[in-house]
Amino acid sequence: MHRFLLAVLRRDLTLAARRRGDWLIAQFFFVMVASLFPLGVGPEPEMLARIGPGVLWVAATLASLLSLSRLFADDHHDGSLEHMVLSPEPTVLLVLGKSLAHWLIYGIPLLLIAPVLGIQFNLSWEAIWVLEISLLLGTPILSLLGGVGAALTLGLRGGGVLLTLLILPLYVPALIFGAGAVDGVMAGTGAEAHLSLLGAFLVLSLMIAPWIAAAALRVSLE
């Protein structure tokens, strides 16, 4: 069973490694969106530190959405997705493997870039550290829930925009708890409560999202 999961993971990672341009776009998007805010609202350090956590979190959700519309689309195009769904292995594992691969390809680089942007936004080291933990807990949620949206909108016209419309409302708790954790540590009230809720939300998404996404995938491929 986990051999299938590993095979899906390895396949997606290999494909991503051979098309480096694809996943770098999402990372540059993340950097650009975050860099637009100081230009838009002004460069005062106090204000940047105040809005920094929220801006970085919003930019992270948008960057993940940008890449999610292609989670199943490429495999759907060349027909390999149908074969994987028709195989005797459970579709849930296929979805879980693809979501995990998406997180490794798009989520981990965000974690590496975020501290640099945190410095640009004048965040303290403590706040950057909590931002890292909140992104570590939060970005898998984005990939898991995004899998549901990607499966639902598979092959639809205007699928990318529709995906945004469907999935952004579901991202809200992750955004609130993730940015709230960093705000908490900056305000001196501590980040534990928000991080615990974020962790709980991650467990909940991990338990529910792959099943719904697998059902949605079967509906879309019928």
């Binding site: 639902l152 469907l166 409302p169 809200v172 999202a209 719904i212 059902a215 949605a216 509906v219 879309s220």
Partner: protein, 244 residues
């Protein structure tokens, strides 16, 4: 009499046609009665003066916005589990009404907020989650609109409704979980309500009116959906011939 016969769209079409006038009359009577209580019988609030009367619209609309979503999720789950066509049609028939009530709840809330809080909008937990509920409704309707294949659209929309259903308890309990500006519920089953009896009566009558209205328009809409989807069948052709 076997209730399951009404799971067939052809039978339900006839039943809905018979029920609609009853619910429509009920809606009219309860709306007039409720508005009469709200505007003429209910006393002026000593703190909020006349502006509080918005709650007679606001509270039933907010209740219905959440309740309709749960009913949609229920029909979606039934449809996915038992593969019944009519359940999906009911879910689709309810969605626009739910979105409208969510919008009314937000709009009247803003009108109430301006004189009471001094702000049209605050990023309060309950307001925010009601806004997210509106986004969910819009997302579901947009997904249905984007999928031409009826069977796929039904299922995809129901799956999205189910995953979004987690949001509804968050709205309801948000006032308790976060200590926020929006006041707590004044009506509760377990303790005496913290408002005058006439006000409560007006609100409940308006809630029943909103309920009956929802049933009426949902039945009208589901009849249209049934006709549209079953237009190839014999019974629809026979029906059309009889009517023309």
């Amino acid at each position: 009499m076997n209730l399951y016969t009404y799971a067939s769209p052809a039978n339900f079409y006839v039943l809905a046609g018979k029920l609609i006038p009853w619910f429509a009359w009920g809606t009219g009577i309860f709306t007039v009665w409720g508005l009469y209580i709200s505007f003429f019988l209910a006393p002026t609030d000593f703190q909020q003066s006349e502006a509080y009367r918005i709650i007679f619209i606001h509270v039933p609309a907010a209740w219905m916005s959440m309740f309709i979503y749960l009913v949609m999720a229920f029909w979606g789950a039934i449809g996915l589990a038992f593969n019944t066509r009519l359940s999906f049609m009911m879910a689709r028939a309810l969605a626009p009404t739910g979105a409208i009530f969510t919008f009314i709840a937000l709009w009247t809330g803003a009108w109430w907020g301006k004189p009471m809080w001094g702000a049209w909008w605050v990023w309060d937990a309950r307001l925010t989650s009601e806004l997210i509920l509106l986004f969910l409704y819009v997302g579901i309707i947009a997904l249905w609109a984007a999928i031409d294949d009826i069977r796929r659209g039904d299922r995809a929309g129901s799956l999205l409704t189910l995953i979004g259903a987690i949001n509804v308890p968050i709205i309801y309990f948000s006032v308790k979980w976060w200590n926020t500006l929006h006041q707590g519920a004044s009506v509760s089953l377990t303790k005496a309500p913290s408002m005058a009896a006439t006000m409560l009566q007006g609100m409940l009558v308006m809630a029943i009116a909103a309920w009956l209205y929802t049933i009426t328009v949902a039945l009208i809409r589901v009849r249209r959906i049934i006709l549209e989807r079953e237009r190839q069948t014999e019974w629809v052709k026979a029906l059309l011939e009889k009517e023309t």
